[in-house]
């Protein structure tokens, strides 16, 4: 069992508070991703769970047992670091077996566990190599192997793929996910890359400025973001935001183009921020007028930058289109896909 409960976690460096009371529940076996921009406190939170960072207030518990005051080694948690943090003077086998050696396990037992982990990760032929003789992806796997041999309750990953090139990153991403599906060990994974978060997570925790903005499954966050920040952070290309006004039960752009129906809670004249995902914009015979700016084909789909009066929007389409820059088009928003946010609080209006 390995369920982690965070209760009102606060962390200050001197007078500066970087975590403002984080509550989080990670279920046993769940793959949870902490995501957010640089400086949002996600790494600090992960390090607090690991025990590498003390917390100023709050409680961290593992399976109902408070572990705040335990040193890292007594928490039964393993961590994979961003720069792999392999010991350069030890072979792969020694690196992986180091924790067991410190725990005074017998040599035969260490060999057996290291071998088992190496088999899982395809590291068996590399066991006698030194870290400097390995490629980035192999080092990353050794770092994971070091975590696996301990058979911990929880794995922590601190931006493990950020040092790899794009192709390798995609490959390792699926390897980590497969590994999790095999081992079913509770995992907390930190990244600033929302695509990593979307593809890997059972549960995503979006953080900003030391607060949790929203917690939920990837599609939940994508379909029902609670505010402008989450809506803009999740999804690529990002959601379009334009200022709009409610008139006669409809949401209109500033130059009067119709975007969609307004919920009943909004009265005439209310000003809102309208959010539209790029794939929810449809080319139509009538509707809001726009001019084609950039056309960026990626093969499977084409990305268009549309210039409207006082705003610019990005749309994607899977259709092959025959437009060229400067052409005038009409667009509308797919039914039920218009998101509205309060212009002041930026909270979603449902």
């Amino acid at each position: 069992m390995g369920s982690v409960t965070l209760n009102n976690i606060r962390k200050s460096y001197g007078a500066v508070e970087v975590l403002h009371g984080i509550d989080l529940q990670v279920e046993d076996g769940e793959f949870t991703v902490l995501v957010g921009p640089s400086g949002c406190g996600k790494s600090t939170l992960l390090r607090a769970i690991a025990g590498l960072e003390t917390i100023s207030d709050g409680e961290i518990s593992l399976d109902g047992q408070v572990i705040n005051h335990l040193p890292p080694k007594r928490r039964d948690i393993a961590m994979v670091f961003q720069n792999y943090a392999l010991y350069p003077h030890m072979t792969v086998a020694k690196n992986m077996g180091f924790s067991l050696r410190l725990a005074k396990e017998s040599k035969a037992e260490i060999d057996r566990k290291v071998q088992a982990a190496a088999d899982i990760l395809d590291l068996a032929p590399l066991l006698e190599r030194y870290p400097k003789q390995l490629s980035g992806g192999q080092r990353q796997r050794v770092a994971m192997g070091r975590a696996i041999v301990r058979d911990p309750e929880v794995f922590l990953f601190d931006e493990p793929l950020s040092n790899l090139d794009a192709k390798l990153r995609v490959q390792m991403r699926s390897e980590i996910k497969e590994l999790h599906q095999r081992l079913r060990t509770t995992t907390v994974y930190v990244t600033h890359d929302q695509i990593e978060a979307m593809t890997m997570a059972d549960k995503i925790v979006v953080m900003r400025g030391g607060h949790v903005e929203q917690t939920g499954s990837p599609l939940e966050l994508y379909d029902r973001p609670v505010n402008v920040f989450v809506a803009g952070f999740i999804g690529s290309p990002a959601m379009n935001f334009i200022e709009a006004v409610v008139q006669g039960g409809n949401v209109l752009t500033s130059d009067g183009a119709m975007l969609g129906p307004a919920p009943e809670s909004l009265s005439d004249g209310a000003r809102v921020t309208a959010g539209i995902r790029p794939e929810d914009i449809i080319l139509a015979d009538s509707g809001a007028e726009a001019k084609v700016g950039l056309i960026e084909p990626t093969g499977a789909e084409t990305q268009l930058t549309l210039r409207m009066q006082g705003a610019s929007m990005v749309m994607t389409t899977r259709d092959r289109i025959t437009l060229s820059p400067g052409d005038a088009v009409h667009i509308r928003v797919a039914e039920g896909k218009l998101r509205l946010f309060d212009i002041q609080s930026e909270a979603a209006i449902r």
């Binding site: 040193p71 010991y87 030890m90 180091f98 410190l102 070091r146």
Partner: protein
């Protein structure tokens, strides 16, 4: 044409260095080597091609004592210097306001001139008026005031202590810098792996600074072998030659007794010893030169 003029230019460019090495290193060494094979009587050269100087050295009962003292001086000095340097360096590597200040202060013994250091310690260790001896006595720790430099059993080790006081700071600073450059993530990874403070030091810090550690060991060994002013001013080899070491004995033989031949023979022995040390160092570090230094 072009390549040959390039070659001449290259030779021309290294000429000053080659000349300097020839004049100041190879020349004197050659001189000493030939002198060690020359019979010298009363400062007069009397024929080349003899091993008499080395025979005289082997027969000299003093030479055995000098070798023993030199062993204490070089081996004891180096080992203790590196060990205390490692301890102090580890302490200085801790981040705090105090250590930041201490890191600058600790260089003080190192920047003082040899003569000043030697005179100051000579006074502090003096048998009648030395502040250290009298403090120990008035504190009731010793019955009589100890004469650190006058006691044949203590004098060599007292010299080693002063030597360490003088040479250790730079060792400590170099090792402190090395320790501070150990990647923090490795330390944290070892904490996650369950290592306690000692195990982190033993299994992560030490291997990471191994290159600096061997380098600093050999460098201090060479410094200590070459150190002359400190023991010469403090004891001059006394009392009764009990603190006579290679460098002081060579000086005494050549410039007080004018036995150039024997002194040169001793210099040759000394040189061979140093070369063995350096060869050992290069052998131990042969891997690190190729890989460790680069990474």
């Amino acid at each position: 044409m072009n390549t040959s003029s390039d070659r001449w230019l290259a030779y021309f460019m290294i000429l000053p260095v080659v000349a300097a090495v020839l004049a100041f290193v190879i020349g004197p060494t050659w001189d000493v080597a030939t002198l060690s094979l020359t019979q010298v009587v009363m400062g007069q050269e009397r024929g080349f091609g003899t091993l008499n100087n080395f025979r005289a050295l082997a027969a000299d009962p003093m030479f055995a004592l000098v070798l023993k003292n030199t062993a204490i001086w070089i081996l004891g000095g180096t080992i203790l210097c590196v060990m205390t340097g490692l301890a102090v360096g580890t302490f200085l590597a801790i981040d705090s306001k105090m250590t930041t200040g201490l890191r600058a202060l600790i260089l003080l013994p190192w920047v003082l001139p040899d003569v000043v250091t030697a005179m100051a310690w000579k006074w502090m260790l003096h048998g009648q008026v030395g502040v250290i001896g009298s403090t120990l006595q008035s504190a009731g720790l010793t019955e009589q005031q100890i004469s650190f430099l006058g006691d044949p059993d203590l004098v060599m080790w007292t010299l080693v202590v002063v030597l360490i006081w003088r040479k250790m700071p730079l060792v400590a600073l170099i090792l402190c810098a090395a320790i501070r450059s150990v990647p923090n993530e490795q330390i944290e990874a070892s904490r996650m792996d369950g290592a306690n403070a000692f195990e982190r030091f033993r299994f992560v810090v030490i291997p990471n600074i191994a290159f600096s550690l061997t380098a600093v060991t050999v460098i201090s060994m060479i410094w200590i072998t070459a150190e002359f002013a400190l023991p010469w001013i403090m004891t001059g080899g006394g009392p009764a030659n009990t603190s006579q070491i290679m460098s002081t004995y060579i000086y005494q033989q050549s410039f007080e007794f004018f036995s150039w031949g024997v002194a040169s023979a001793m210099s040759v022995v000394n040189l061979v010893m140093l070369m063995v040390i350096v060869a050992l160092y290069l052998y131990v570090n042969r891997k690190s030169w190729a890989t460790g230094a680069a990474s």
